[in-house]
Symmetry: C2
Subunit: 212 residues, 2 copies
């Protein structure tokens, strides 16, 4: 599986990620921008949330945009780690696939509060090449993770679709659920739809019914 390039500030003045203030600023920015959006919250808001002078932001980060880029790198790492850790090893089976999907669901629910931030990120990526490239790489990494999960749990059986195409479909569907997790306040209802998806999808993908 490829490891996407999520390195930090390549070509820019480095940011000292060990510095405690830097971490506080990053955490504060995540909170504030998650709540009010990248455009809706000013650097002043971020600074006061971090309990720090606004000037310090510019001391550590070249600009608001660079702060966003650093934060994006950290966010991608976190989400990728969360998803990866949920795709566990185990005896391949349809049950394992169901379980893996549930785990990914849990990861999505756990990070659902940050979804608005993710969408701002994609929005920004339309005009910001640095953001764009990283997000595309991250997207590929996620898809590879999904393909990996399918291969591990169902790779031994005959599937109605090649693994890559199945992964692409799952990826797209998961995007849809991300959206609904953001838009709908009723988590239980969305969860029920997700269960329907699991059932229908696996029934269609593994025609034989697997090795149950």
């Amino acid at each position: 599986m490829q490891q996407a390039n999520l390195r930090t500030s390549v070509g820019y003045k480095p940011v000292n990620l060990e510095n405690e203030s830097v971490q506080r600023i990053l955490r504060a920015a995540m909170r504030v921008w998650t709540r009010d959006g990248y455009y809706g919250a000013s650097l002043k808001d971020v600074a006061s949330e971090a309990g720090v002078a606004k000037s310090l932001l510019h001391y550590h980060f070249q600009s608001k945009e660079h702060l966003l880029i650093e934060l994006q790198a950290q966010w991608c790492r976190m989400v990728a780690r969360a998803v990866r850790s949920r795709i566990e090893e185990g005896p391949p089976s349809v049950a394992a696939a169901l379980d893996a999907l549930d785990q990914v669901w849990n990861a999505m629910v756990a990070t659902r509060a940050q979804l608005p931030f993710a969408f701002d990120l994609w929005r920004e990526s339309e005009t910001n090449l640095a953001i764009r490239e990283r997000l595309v790489a991250f997207d590929h990494e996620l898809r590879a993770l999904i393909a990996d999960g399918i291969r591990r749990t169902l790779g031994h059986t005959k599937l109605a679709l090649p693994v890559e195409r199945a992964a692409a479909l799952v990826h797209t569907v998961l995007d849809g659920f991300s959206l609904r997790l953001w838009l709908d306040e009723d988590l239980a209802k969305t969860r029920r739809i997700f269960d329907d998806f699991k059932t229908l999808f696996l029934a269609a993908l593994v025609p034989s019914g697997g090795d149950r």
Copy 2:
């Protein structure tokens, strides 16, 4: 099928939608905000795109927010009309369902350029109650449209899922494809995933294979 309340400016000073300048302003706002986002584009930008004095915006619309609300109403009407017109009558069958899905796909592709605007709208709805209510109503209308399409094309057969739950699932998956239509530049690739979805979904939903 319920008709969502998409009336305009309830409780506010009315906006003369017949006025030609108003329409030009609305169209310009759609173009500009689609391109640069609601926050990224100023009223000055909208005015110059419309070839109109900035004061005229304030003459016809109370504020930037009210312009957004009017635009949202128009956008919801348009999308709903586009989708509704694609769910055609005809002899119910699996083939008809496939065709209806294709039609919805076409509507989504046709309006894909406006998806960023739609996301800004949802983003704004987090803090703007007027926007929020209309979007929720619109969401319900869309889901009802989907349920209607399923009922019309497949209602006569035994389905693996109740119509409402199937509609909810389709709705969610379509959201996912909307996202991918926005994020991916490669339309053909996304289209292939959509075809896979159609096949797998209908195979699982209509176990008997329908009345083919």
